[in-house]
Symmetry: D2
Subunit: 139 residues, 4 copies
């Protein structure tokens, strides 16, 4: 991949991963100026918490936090890097909605990078917040 991957290149990389393909995650926007990336993920039956609830289980929400943070780091590094750790805080139930993740690199260093990931519903309501540490550009 080039030093500054395009949105299409990142989407191609994303779609190669069986898990991300299953998640149908779609990169909607990248912004090199603000080191920001937007990722959208539709509901699917396998992600429901309780039958017929329309509510997302927390697991796929955390997975979206991880993936969005990782691809935001790719804006900095030019490649995917290992996740070191991340935290997910659940603020409101996610019901009958696609999830929209906005990931913003807060610090991109040589050894590690830190990314904030906000998860919204389709109406722009904040559902969850994530914060992750990833290997840096030398990692």
């Amino acid at each position: 991949m080039s030093d500054k991957p395009t949105m299409d290149q990142l989407q191609a990389l994303l779609s190669k991963s069986p898990f991300n393909r299953f998640c149908q995650a779609k990169i909607e926007r990248i912004d090199y100026g603000n080191m920001e990336l937007e990722l959208r993920m539709p509901m699917r039956a396998e992600f429901e918490r309780r039958p017929d609830s329309g509510q997302w289980h927390g697991g796929p929400i955390a997975a979206l936090v991880d993936t969005a943070g990782d691809y935001a780091m790719a804006l900095h590094v030019g490649a995917l890097v290992p996740t070191i750790n991340y935290r997910t805080d659940y603020l409101r139930p996610a019901i009958n909605t696609d999830l929209i993740a906005i990931a913003k690199v807060r610090r991109a260093g040589r050894s590690v990078g830190v990314v904030d990931i906000d998860i919204f519903n389709e109406e722009g309501k904040l559902l969850a917040v994530g914060r992750g540490t990833y290997a840096g550009s030398a990692g």
Copy 2:
């Protein structure tokens, strides 16, 4: 559910959740004395990080952390409670292996509970560690 759900009752509850059923998570052991619960989750093709790698994506690992912690809290509360937040640290790649989660309640209070979740491969090697906060018995 009774105050002290049996392993079968917890498994029945788990299997009702579409996401957990998709994950094929199986409760292998509960231990009221130590407030501990063991959960096993097999690999499936949709959870692969990269094609033909046999490696778990971090997302399903985080999902297992969440679920194991939540069901360990159920030993204390007698019912499922909302996840407030959790952190997952990835220590080693998880390749060609079932995941075994051992969740231990560190503190079970009225307002919140804290659970540690260790994730092992089939050889007992530690792959990831999670720590979660859940609503407590009054939540």
Copy 3:
């Protein structure tokens, strides 16, 4: 304290705490519209990491994260609430500078609240980021 404490009331509360008084923490700004609070903390000899380095030890930085988050929650609750947990990420060394914390409530619920706390040096450079969960208005 009233439902919406003034900056002076919050500062008086802060200064009553022996630890916060020792830290010489000063509330510089509160903003009810954005649920934001700014706290400033000067260096003192006891907070140095290594002799004659002028560098802050990470401990007092974490303490500032905790305090700033707690007082931001007080904007919502009208009183101080217990800290449940928080995470601190260190992004750059803090050397020869006051610390400025900007704490923003991301979600203020009845059972818990979540606050983001950014720590800057005097030049506005981001040094550390914190994220904390506190008891909510019913806590």
Copy 4:
């Protein structure tokens, strides 16, 4: 420092730091077999949360988490390494007691290490738990 610092060498290093000296932190035990370290920290007036409460403010507790984790990593690395991030969960109020930290390295890699830190009161009651990520042996 040698590859495997002794307890005296680690204590000398600790006591050189103005902040740690102020905290009067004392290494009580090191255990290379289990990669474990025990650190004790007495109450002092400046650490009180509220006047005449005898209760520790959360800030110095977090500082102890950080320091204990860092010195446990020194067992692995043979030197102090930068803290990347850590989380502190407060389980019970710490009142009229020294704090005893037991830090255990869960994973010591080349790029990062992960340490669990449990904080007890003098009666062995668990008061807080920390989990930290530190730069590794190549950091």
